[in-house]
Symmetry: C2
Subunit: 516 residues, 2 copies
């Protein structure tokens, strides 16, 4: 072209000959999980990684970690040879790495639909919805406390997306249900409204055990004893404290041969140092201790090495999300986890924005790309968060799910077989012509490019005159409503359904009785 302006569009001639559109309404077909075709992004040298490990080792050996309200955990540490001083446990250099070496580098979490079972570890990437918000939001009703209806709606939206792989866990808190019973309804909702793998409760040992029991009903007790059928996400009480509630839940999952996801939440400057290397060393030490505890409870139990670095606004003291320091720090955590040969959970799609606006996606994409690049196998919080993790947004959820689709294409990398190299296309087209009607294009166009369902790619005139000048949030609002309206539940074996409902009724009744 002869002007400096790069923007251009296919010529009119070209347009006449372009291939036919894809079949309208054809639902994209997802995969049960992604096998990444690009390597993780290693940003630190071996020497620098060793410095961070050495700092973590020194923290573990000299400062130690407190294990509160869990005598059994303390006993396990003593038996394993750790030094116990009251609640404080210290570990000789290398001891914890030796203990975690019995954990599998990769395992399968089974889904009730076997075609949807996920691999966790190696080059796998599993997208799971966000987790833990007390509030929900949508453009029509604004922000409000989450309910079991919202909870089920998000399960249905996740189930309906070809780009999410996992049903998640506490997608939002259903605060309309009693705290001591809601875990039963949550686990049942995952089983009933989706056929994907899911997570159970961790807020009390008994709730973890109830969750596992429900998975046993679904999969059969023998199968569940030998295979991972449920995950539990446990948090460190950073800095350097493991609370008994969490270690008891962690041990309940490990005891049942189910996978705990071990996650410190380190807000730099509050629960950890303001410098990245220190926060990473802390995260490594805290997670390693949690992973090791699973192996002391049951050697060989699956476990996931997690992390959650965050930063702080030094103007207001508020936590900040989707910022550069945690994004770059996650890549280092990934390198450290690979040295341990443990499956990795990292980052997710975070933002402090209170609306599904430019800030939401700027911060969200930065953090999500980091999760992708660091080599994470299980990406919790892949879709839905707004409001500094405090709200699940219906619009953001479908935006994020669409972006997860883009990441499927991204993680395919670049093929270099003869078809992809396309020499025959150059022979056919030659200089100065175009590729729209070429054999190579006709052969490949159906699968060539990721196809969004939310971005508007029309020319300005069409967007403004025919499309109603919508922004992405408006289109997302329409999409989630349409998706819920057309949702159909996957069939569930009636005998299993009945057994689950009996279990829940009995449990609830026993809780009621406990109050009389």
């Amino acid at each position: 072209m002869t002007t400096t302006a790069e923007p251009t569009e296919p010529t009119t001639t070209a347009k006449r000959e372009r291939p036919k559109r894809r079949t309208p309404g054809a639902r994209p077909v997802g995969v049960p999980y992604i096998n990444r075709q690009i390597p993780p992004y290693d940003i630190l040298s071996e020497e620098s990684l060793e410095k961070i490990e050495a700092t973590a080792d020194r923290i573990l050996a000299e400062i130690g970690i407190e294990f509160r309200d869990d005598d059994d955990a303390i006993a396990l540490w003593k038996k394993a040879g750790a030094k116990v001083d009251g609640l404080k446990v210290t570990f000789e250099k290398g001891m914890l790495r030796e203990i975690v070496s019995s954990a599998p580098a990769r395992f399968t979490q089974h889904a009730r639909n076997p075609a949807r079972s996920v691999e966790i570890g190696g080059g796998s990437v599993v997208f799971s919805p966000a987790y833990g918000s007390p509030f929900v939001m949508d453009l029509d009703r604004g922000r409000r406390y989450g309910t079991i209806e919202d909870f089920q709606n998000f399960i249905k939206l996740a189930y309906s997306s070809p780009w999410l792989h996992h049903s998640g866990g506490t997608i939002c808190e259903p605060v309309d249900l009693p705290v001591n019973k809601r875990h039963l309804d949550m686990v049942y909702s995952h089983i009933k409204y989706s056929d994907r793998a899911f997570m159970g409760s961790v807020t009390a040992e008994s709730r973890a055990e109830d969750s596992i029991d429900m998975a046993r009903i679904l999969f059969g007790r023998d199968f569940a004893d030998q295979n991972c059928v449920i995950l539990g996400n446990v948090n460190v009480n950073s800095p350097l404290v493991w609370d008994g509630t969490m270690t008891k839940a962690l041990r309940a999952y490990a005891r049942a041969n189910q996978a705990a996801v071990i996650v410190p939440f380190i807000l730099g400057g509050a629960m950890g140092p303001v410098t990245n290397a220190g926060a990473i060393a802390q995260s490594y030490a805290e997670t390693l201790a949690g992973c090791a505890l699973t192996q002391l409870e049951r050697k060989g139990a699956p476990v996931i090495f997690g992390n959650f670095l965050s930063s702080m606004s030094l103007r207001s003291g508020s936590p900040t999300f989707g910022t550069p320091e945690p994004a770059i720090g996650s890549m280092v955590i990934g390198q450290l986890a690979r040295r341990l040969k443990l499956p990795l959970r990292c980052a997710g799609n975070f933002t402090n924005s209170k609306l599904p606006d430019a800030q939401a996606m700027q911060e969200g994409v930065m953090s999500m790309m980091s999760a992708i690049h660091c080599g994470a196998n299980f990406i919790l919080h892949s879709a839905g968060f707004l409001d500094g993790l405090l709200s699940m947004s219906y619009e953001k959820f479908v935006m994020d799910a669409d972006f997860c689709g883009a990441l499927h294409a991204y993680l395919k990398g670049v093929d270099v077989d003869d078809n992809a190299l396309a020499y025959d296309a150059f022979e056919e087209v030659g200089p100065g012509s175009h590729f729209l009607g070429s054999q190579h294009t006709l052969r490949n166009y159906q699968t060539a490019f990721w196809d969004t369902t939310l971005s508007d790619n029309e020319p300005f005139e069409k967007w403004s005159q025919e499309g109603g000048s919508t922004d992405m949030a408006i289109r997302a609002n329409r999409q989630w409503k349409q998706t819920l309206a057309s949702y159909e539940a996957p069939p569930l074996d009636e005998a299993i359904d009945e057994e689950l409902r009996d279990f829940i009724d009995r449990k609830k009744k026993s809780m009621d009785d406990a109050w009389h």
Copy 2:
């Protein structure tokens, strides 16, 4: 913590003791360019790269490139030993790589303020505004053709941002000025309203020469003959055609020892194949030929290896931007450019959104992160684009500039010195306490975290009750107006200013005379 919810905030105790706020209103201090502390992201193996190079070599040797309307370029190719058949030039394997080996791997582009000169090559990263839109947009006035006032406004906004390094070139087309004269006003505006490095015109050989002459007035002819003081961005007419307008401009820059940026614009499926590897091979071949031509014109002249991959909506035939395939393809282009030891220009901040909304930043961040990860030294289009490159948006410009600030922090990587490892902080704080008042925090908090000027990080209640429930676009609208209102031009030597204005008057008069 003992709940499953990860979201949390510092405790009240913590808040009392947190460090003082940064000085309000303190303007962040930028750097003239970034020296990246993280490596580029290599996604393909050597073997795969060689397959792409081999395809490019075969295209160059057997299909060839047409050089139209430039007899001097054809003569240079003949003299260099290429095979010329009419307009078509073919090249033996390795010939072009041999020719470009005389180009510098790294050079300085001088700014009139020496503190703002930029390095281009090696580990440098230079952010430059977007380039070439006929339209401008803002939230108040919508979309309209660009004017010289808009053009100057964007120069002022770029100058005022600590996170952009370069003044750019055709930031928007000032369509209120005559086509044959506007380059003079554009170059003068860059010199007058900024003290940063800038780009000149390429839309005709004479306009390229006028631009270079104005740079000679600014820097002195002798200095300008030995140093790079202006860039010209030239486009291939893909596939496999170099138009004379572009090669003559390219040669004018090289002849004057100034740097041409060589950029194919390949919309996969139209100007190139739909498969990434083929589009990359084509881009490599086209760029390599352009880079080699600069060396035939003047051996040792600086040149920048550019690329611009894009995809297409197979629903509408529209070009799409910020999509996964070009993002991943750019990383491969980066690997190929490093094998050539040439400075690299890649990608930028692209979107097809017509508003500064979630789509704009989702697509923008994905493409910008790719530019960062591929190792690009000169990132044109770092700020401002909306509307498929057709519009410069005032709001998007300041959003993107703020995000460039985040990328400064990202590219610092992770320090692992003793201060960053923070062992003393753990000794001081220990398990179960917090780091807000620790010596380590007090020593580091001022520089610990990137500080946005546009993202809202307040709690929901404060955002909604005191902050007016703004979305990022509204805050950006306020920011660009405030920035323009407080803009002050950097002083310019009066004798130089006069000489420039004389030059422009003479040139304009000679153009008027040419029409009589």
